[in-house]
């Protein structure tokens, strides 16, 4: 395929406005992450001691669950593009299921930390832990609205806007990749 032909076949998945929002969100979260890293380097021992109370296995589980949800929503977009709407709906429901597993698991993790006596005001590390995970949680809740819109589109032959389905999927993937960064900064880095 020539360069010109390749350029003709290129397309923006979903609405361009959503991509502007994704880049804006990415920059906002980058600012949060930079503030976290700067505060961390100023009180390294405190952050390391508090981080030791998080369970890396839980963080890995959350990441695997969201990666699976991203895979399913990508399959949903592909199926809708190929007019296989039953398969697209099934994948959208599986995305919701894995998103729900993440929500429940995150609430259980918060409850366990609170039971152990680690609250928002315990120290600077836990302030960041609750802030970053809670704002991500909020984005995930909005993600369910986006998935609801995708399901609404896929349900009826009278709607089925491929652009809207792709737009909703783009938002859901954003939630996934933001979590990948949060996981590295809260659970893994030293």
């Amino acid at each position: 395929m020539t360069t010109a032909a390749k350029a003709q076949h290129r397309f923006v998945p979903g609405q361009p406005d959503m991509w502007a929002f994704v880049l804006f969100e990415a920059l906002v979260f980058t600012a949060y992450f930079v503030v976290y890293v700067v505060c961390r380097t100023r009180s390294l021992d405190l952050f390391l001691q508090s981080q030791a109370h998080l369970d890396l296995r839980v963080g890995v589980f959350h990441t695997l669950v969201l990666l699976a949800s991203s895979w399913f929503v990508a399959r949903c977009v592909q199926a809708a593009r190929e007019r296989s709407f039953r398969a697209a709906l099934t994948n959208a429901y599986l995305t919701m299921l894995f998103g729900f597993v993440f929500l429940v698991s995150k609430v259980l993790e918060w409850a366990a930390k609170l039971d152990e006596g680690f609250g928002f005001t315990t120290d600077e590390f836990f302030s960041f832990y609750y802030f970053l995970t809670a704002i991500h949680f909020l984005h995930l809740l909005i993600g369910f609205v986006a998935l609801g819109i995708a399901v609404h589109q896929l349900w009826s032959p009278a709607r089925r806007s491929q652009e809207l389905v792709e737009t909703c999927a783009t938002y859901w993937h954003t939630i996934d990749f933001l979590w990948v960064l949060i996981f590295a900064l809260l659970y893994v880095m030293r």
């Binding site: 350029a7 076949h9 290129r10 397309f11 923006v12 998945p13 991509w19 880049l23 990415a26 920059l27 980058t30 992450f33 930079v34 890293v37 700067v38 961390r40 380097t41 100023r42 390294l44 390391l48 001691q49 981080q51 030791a52 890396l56 296995r57 890995v60 990441t63 695997l64 990666l67 699976a68 991203s70 895979w71 929503v73 990508a74 399959r75 977009v77 592909q78 199926a79 190929e82 296989s84 398969a87 999927a169 783009t170 993937h173 996934d176 990749f177 990948v180 960064l181 996981f183 590295a184 900064l185 893994v188 880095m189 030293r190």
Partner: protein, 94 residues
Amino acid sequence: MNAISDKRMMVVWLALSAITLTQLGVGSVDGGQALRPNAALTAGAIGIALFKVRVIIREFMEVRHAPVLLGRLTDLWLALAGASLLGCYLVGTV
């Protein structure tokens, strides 16, 4: 569903999950003791995370099929995030 794209997405998902699982080994680097600062591990963690994010953006979000400008903008953000996070960490700890 197109068999080639479906298989490709499954391979991507399996690779991302496998990379994530390898990070479980990170928990043992401190030998079960209190966590210690580790610049190499931190650089690796941030590098791996940015690599995974790029794979998600290019494969699942289909940026590899998008106009070049979108790919460049997302790569620019990844470079900015990597430089600022690693820069702040290294300046503050090394």
